[in-house]
């Protein structure tokens, strides 16, 4: 979707806010959100069949821009839980009021040592991409290609700033499930390429000198350049 999350090339965000020696999580709640979002999938398929990015990208634009990074994760988690019927907005609001009224109250706790031990192992385990495309690659290194000018209304990994642009195939990667398909089950593997774009092609005559952008391209986004 042409959402506000697709921000490559936008102006107006100001300087980069660089923080020296920053902690991994700035507040305890950020760590909790991180842990729950990455961990709940071990026990329940909360984000299926669309995947978690569907919920992040469907946060309203004004709310997305106003939210911090982990607030976006939190809002997406909430939306997924509610849409799956695992929580209701009312019980979430009531519980939030409960913690506001009792600041020293801690969340309920339930441990599952066997699961925690499995998680500790899985965190360090290989998680390879094991997908094979059913056809041979259509493009080869040094081929000139044009990116299709498409505007999917659902999730897409194709940034707006590169649509319709000409580039050169630089690398062939293995196959990956095509993430633009609306449901995870439909994401059949395609060849993925690294395609280089000259900055002038993307940004015009005012581009900075001597710059190229490398973007990973699923094969169905690409056409041979005339």
């Amino acid at each position: 979707m042409n959402g506000v999350h697709d921000m490559g090339g936008m102006h107006g965000f100001g300087p980069i806010d660089i923080e020296a020696d920053e902690p991994v999580f700035h507040n305890e709640w950020e760590g909790r959100v991180y842990g729950i979002v990455t961990g709940i999938r071990e026990e329940h398929d909360v984000y299926g069949p669309y995947g978690s990015r569907h919920y992040i990208e469907n946060i309203s634009p004004a709310q997305y821009l106003a939210a911090s990074y982990y607030e976006r994760w939190m809002l997406a988690l909430e939306a997924a839980l509610i849409s799956k019927g695992l929580l209701t907005a009312d019980e979430l609001d009531a519980k939030t009021r409960h913690f506001a009224a009792a600041p020293s109250a801690e969340p309920s706790r339930r441990d599952n040592p066997a699961l925690a031990a499995r998680v500790r192992q899985r965190i360090y385990a290989p998680q390879p991409i094991e997908e094979q495309a059913s056809s041979l690659p259509r493009f080869a290194i040094s081929d000139a290609v044009v990116v299709r000018n498409i505007h999917p209304v659902g999730h897409t990994r194709l940034p707006r700033y590169v649509r319709g642009k000409r580039g050169i195939v630089e690398r062939l990667y293995g196959a990956q499930g095509f993430q633009d398909e609306p449901t995870i089950a439909d994401r059949s593997p395609q060849h993925v390429y690294s395609v280089a774009f000259d900055a002038v092609e993307l940004w015009g005559a005012n581009a900075e000198p001597n710059q190229r952008l490398y973007i990973d391209m699923w094969e169905s986004w690409m056409e041979a350049a005339e």
Binding site: H5, D6, G8, G9, H11, F13, I16, D17, E22, V24, F25, N27, E28, W29, R32, Y34, G35, I36, T38, G39, I40, E43, R53, L65, Y70, L81, L87, F99, P103, S104, A105, E106, P107, R110, N112, L115, A116, V119, R120, R122, I123, A125, P126, Q127, P128, I129, P159, Y173, G174, Q179, V192, L202, E208, N210, Q211, R212, L213, Y214, I215, D216
Partner: protein, 207 residues
């Protein structure tokens, strides 16, 4: 934070996100949808263990072992795996070599993709709207904000990690480090140098 350094409660009101997260956490536990210790394990692993020291070890070895470096650039995933670094956001890792002629820098404009097994979780600026928006259209200006000025003769390559490939930069080995061992080189390899917004540190004093 709900506690100060001596473990006492702070009296000030907690932000909405903190309260809301407590509510979600509590309800999911009460419904049997998550286990507290399994969530704790994830937080602790990335808070205390999996971080840029992993990537620094990979880089220092590449600086001291030409055969290792060649394999790293050809098949990053396998070589990083040989060093024991696996896990989420590391299914396919590609290392990009900086040279006197080419400077690579990594971004994820659509969200915040980042090679967790070698760099840990990303810093806040990497996830910021400003970095995601600007590094693709004015990388030299952004790099100057990080204190890195690159001459026009150096080609800047910006890698937008939009697929499941995760990129790390192999920075140039600093001058004046010929006599240093792999272990002595590790501290010179900063997180920022492996994202590509800085060069590796120079050795400032004799060890």
């Amino acid at each position: 934070m709900s506690r100060n350094h001596s473990g006492e409660r702070h009296p000030e009101p907690q932000p909405y996100a903190a309260l809301r997260t407590k509510a979600i956490d509590s309800l999911l536990v009460e419904k049997g949808l998550i286990s507290t210790d399994a969530i704790d394990a994830r937080v602790q692993a990335y808070e205390q263990d999996i971080g840029p020291l992993n990537g620094a070890k990979v880089v220092a070895r590449a600086w001291t072992d030409a055969e290792f470096k060649a394999r790293l650039l050809a098949d990053g995933t396998s070589v990083v795996g040989e060093m024991g670094f696996f896990g989420a956001q590391g299914a396919e890792i590609v290392a990009l070599e900086n040279t006197p002629e080419v400077h690579n820098v990594v971004v994820c404009t659509l969200c915040s993709c980042y090679p967790w097994p070698v760099l840990g979780l990303p810093p806040r600026w990497y996830k910021s709207d400003a970095f995601r928006a600007r590094i693709v259209i004015e990388p030299r200006a952004v790099l100057r904000e990080f204190g890195l000025t690159l001459g026009d003769s150096i080609e800047v390559r910006v890698w937008d990690s939009n697929s499941d490939i995760r990129y790390m930069v192999l920075p140039e080995r600093p001058k004046g480090t010929d006599g240093l061992s792999e272990e002595e080189l590790v501290p010179l390899v900063t997180r920022d140098s492996m994202i590509g917004v800085a060069k590796a540190e120079s050795p400032t004093r004799a060890v």
